[in-house]
Symmetry: C2
Subunit: 141 residues, 2 copies
DNA sequence: GTCATTGCAAAACGTTTGCATGAAT
DNA sequence: ATTCATGCAAACGTTTTGCAATGAC
């Protein structure tokens, strides 16, 4: 296994991600890190995010919008992705009824060993539903 | 709604995807379509795949390897993604115990209206487990 | 002193788009 | 005749990479 050396940049990237409750892209994170490290490069942000994913300190979320999103919350949870505003929401669910149940069922059918999973729900979030109502739009685009 | 005109290319792309049991990328599909239509362009393949997704005739699967994969099976099912060989397997599961259960639980927590979902399991598939055993590797990389 | 990490820029990758031509209705 | 679809190539957005310089140990 690779030996990691300390780096202020990596520390700052991790701290910045941990302090957020959204699921920023590398570029969004880059923008906020630059306030502290004006000379940091986007490549460094990508390299460190990938390192942190490898060590399991953060998670990568792929919601299908073309960009990787990152999540400082490594506990098992689902995500809800709004098709209109593209925001990603955490969905904390009852493990007993959902995740663990899903896992045990999956084990029976999976053609191998499962070590992790990604559960995404797509739809229209409450905020967008309200905005649509205000504009007099009954059905979401 | 947009009116679609018939095109031999689109028909062939759909037929080609339907005949496969894997989950090819646009590029892989492009390679096999080229046997029938040597002059077809990759752009046309992408355009038609997106049209077919819009009309609900096929599905897009995002397994996090950077490329979109396409699925001719539009019935609700899960996917198992092998981290070693990158292959995507269909997981046909008992709806009563899993998908519908998951959906009803999700509705309680989701911050809006859910219209679809993506469930991916990651791990090592049976084939790779066997190959690893043959090579004398006990634990997967 | 060694080797990981950085900043920079270029390249790679998958996907989309503009445009003139061709095909379907 | 109209309008959508095609092939081609260029452009796009995201991520990775090669390299010389810097920093951690």
């Amino acid at each position: 296994m690779k030996v990691l050396k300390y780096s202020r940049q990596r520390e700052s990237i991790k701290a910045s991600l941990m302090s957020r409750h959204d699921h920023p892209t590398a570029d969004a994170l880059y923008a906020s890190i630059r306030e502290e490290f004006p000379n940091i490069s986007l490549g460094t942000v990508y390299r460190n995010l990938n390192l942190l994913v490898e060590t399991g300190e953060i998670k990568k979320v792929n919601c299908g919008d073309g960009a990787d999103h990152f999540d400082g919350n490594v506990s098992e949870h689902y995500h809800f992705v709004c098709r209109e505003c593209r925001q990603i929401y955490d969905m904390v669910m009852d493990n007993l009824n959902t995740l663990s149940h899903l896992d045990s069922t999956a084990q029976e059918y999976a053609p191998g060993i499962i070590d992790s999973h990604s559960v995404l729900f797509y739809g229209t979030c409450k905020n967008c539903l309200e905005k649509n109502k205000e504009k007099g739009i009954d059905k979401p685009a």
